[in-house]
């Protein structure tokens, strides 16, 4: 499988300020999440990929070419920015048709694709006659996504596309992105909503202070993610009884019980032992179980050192 983006010893500095510092990575086709705290270098990475800035050092190739001022690369890339600034005086169809023309589409084709894109992101037609500057945050996110689908790019770069969306809206966007990936479009997405990224992405790039620390990225490797979670949360009828049951069988290293909420957080000695026969064990406990979930997400766990003092 050939990488669509490759970076070798890539650095970007803004005078004395560090943007990216000597990072090497490859992005494979599919959905890849970019995770990191504010100032980690996500926007710098995106701007480099979009050809808006040049690397200070190192090599970067997108579809085998350098992206700086390269229309051939830009023809294959779509971008959905984080900012909410929209062009004044334009309605969504006018805006999308104009952008479609800039992407080389004919007027008729641009109109057809503009309508299709707006329908794809589920922006209701009754809102098409409003000016985009008058849109709510959620509607702006949808029309921003629509404009980046317009020219059917092979790589979509999404900077915080879930911001301002309700859970249903987020699921709409997520299902659109899954469908795009299934159709062969690669997606590079950043979001502070880690659960969404975990559910969506096959690969991750974890950034911290302009670097891609190996230890952090090992924590989100496919191999690590294939392991069972080290801690599990149960919402159940009798958390204390369930804790005793696990303890008696030598499965549990420790636990926290929230009796009022009916919640039990369990840390396993060996998660594999529980998950190998969890259905039988839970039935055997005789405790009514309402919900089972991983206590902490692997992304939260992986970036934990970054947020700790």
């Amino acid at each position: 499988m050939s990488a669509i983006v490759q970076a070798e010893n890539l650095s970007r500095f803004y005078g004395m300020v560090l943007g990216l510092n000597n990072v090497s990575f490859a992005i494979q086709p599919g959905i890849t999440g970019v995770v990191g705290p504010n100032g980690a270098g996500k926007t710098t990475l995106f701007r480099l990929l979009l050809g808006q800035i040049r690397p200070s050092a190192g090599l970067l190739s997108v579809f085998g070419s350098t992206p700086w001022n390269n229309p051939a690369v830009q023809a294959l890339v779509g971008y959905c920015p984080e900012g909410e600034q929209m062009p004044p005086g334009l309605r969504p169809l006018d805006w999308l048709v104009g952008l479609g023309l800039l992407s080389g589409l004919s007027t008729a084709e641009a109109k057809r694709r503009a309508q299709a894109s707006l329908e794809r992101v589920k922006l209701a037609p009754e809102h098409w006659s409003k000016r985009v500057t008058a849109y709510s945050k959620g509607m702006k996110q949808r029309v921003k996504l629509a404009q980046c689908l317009l020219h059917e790019p092979r790589l979509i770069v999404l900077d915080e596309p879930m911001n301002g969306l309700d859970p249903m809206g987020r699921e709409d966007i997520a299902s659109t992105l899954r469908q795009l990936a299934a159709d062969g479009t690669s997606v590079l997405i950043s979001s502070h909503i880690l659960q969404d990224l975990e559910a969506l992405c096959a690969d991750f790039i974890l950034l911290r202070w302009g670097r891609i620390p190996r230890s952090l990225n090992e924590g989100v490797s496919a191999e690590t993610r294939a392991r069972w979670p080290a801690a599990t949360t149960f919402r159940c009828g009798a958390p204390a009884q369930l804790a005793r049951f696990f303890f008696d069988r030598g499965l549990m290293q420790g636990c926290d019980i929230e009796a009022d909420a009916g919640t039990l957080h369990v840390r396993w000695i060996d998660p594999q032992r529980f998950y190998a026969e969890f259905d039988r064990l839970l039935l055997e406990s005789g405790v009514p179980i309402y919900e089972v979930s991983a206590t902490e997400s692997f992304l939260e766990k992986a970036i934990e050192p970054a947020s700790s003092p």
Partner: protein, 276 residues
């Protein structure tokens, strides 16, 4: 529970890069569609109305002064066509290119396969056409107010004034593009240029004064001003009709050179850094 990686079908190969020829007509149509609606916003209409009202007020104040109608043509040529028009064209041109260095242009247009020089050139054409129309409105107000006060020679001068205005709008809009592409302090650059070239060099009674675009235009308008004995006609040499064409050529060259340089500067700059 996310114990396993999400099912995410992956294509096995990355697509090959295609170097397609730019389709200039579509690019221009796109720039036109995205530029022109800006002139139809409520805010823009309000600003335009205020400017036009200001223009009318200035004209009326002059005409009510001593010998106002008699000197109106000369004053119009000197104040409006060779001062106000260049200043406004320069400021709006600089403002347009500065806006094109920010979001949403940066995020939505420059991430598309549009060569930056072509984008600058097409934006200039679209903006200049819109600006020419707006300046026509302002010019019409000057003429209408003058006609109301029976200013002599105005009707006969209209064709020459229109040519002068069209050339100045294009030239100084382009120069505004160039200065705006170079620096955010383009107004300061414009003031320095105006003081040194347009006012300073333009007053030197040698061939050097042809570097001043407004001097070129004043020279072009001189025959109509001289015919009406205007107090503003002193000290400017007369030009033959052939020389008028050369003035238009010089303005055109000034426009083209400014736009080309603006496009080069715009292409070479890392525009994403402008907003940081």
């Amino acid at each position: 529970m996310n114990a396993n990686p999400p099912a995410n079908p992956r294509p096995s190969t990355a697509p090959a890069l295609r170097h397609e020829k730019p389709r200039w007509s579509r690019t221009f149509a796109g720039v036109w569609r995205l530029t022109i609606p800006r002139y139809f916003t409520a805010r823009h209409a309000l600003v335009l109305t205020a400017v036009l009202a200001g223009v009318a007020l200035i004209a009326i104040l002059f005409l009510r002064g001593r010998n106002g109608p008699a000197n109106y043509l000369g004053w119009t040529a000197n104040f409006y066509f060779t001062f106000l028009v260049p200043v406004l064209a320069f400021v709006t041109g600089g403002g347009v290119i500065r806006d094109e260095m920010k979001s949403p242009t940066l995020d939505y247009i420059l991430t598309r396969p549009v060569p930056k020089p072509a984008f600058v050139a097409f934006t200039f054409v679209a903006h200049s056409l819109a600006a020419e129309i707006e300046f026509l409105l302002a010019g019409a107000i000057f003429v209408a107010v003058g006609l109301c006060y029976r200013a002599p020679g105005l009707l006969a001068a209209i064709p020459s004034l229109l040519v002068a205005q069209a050339g100045l709008v294009a030239g100084f809009t382009a120069f505004g593009f160039l200065c705006g592409a170079v620096t955010a302090r383009y107004v300061v650059v414009g003031l320095v240029y105006g003081a040194i070239i347009e006012i300073g060099v333009g007053q030197i009674p040698t061939e050097l004064n042809r570097l001043s675009m407004t001097h070129q235009v004043k020279s072009m308008l001189q025959p109509i001003l001289a015919g009406h004995g205007s107090q503003f006609s002193n000290g400017i040499e007369l030009l033959a009709p052939a020389a008028m064409l050369s003035t238009i050529g010089v303005l055109l060259a000034f426009t083209v050179v400014s736009v080309v340089l603006a496009a080069v500067v715009y292409s070479l700059r890392e525009l994403a850094r402008v907003n940081e």
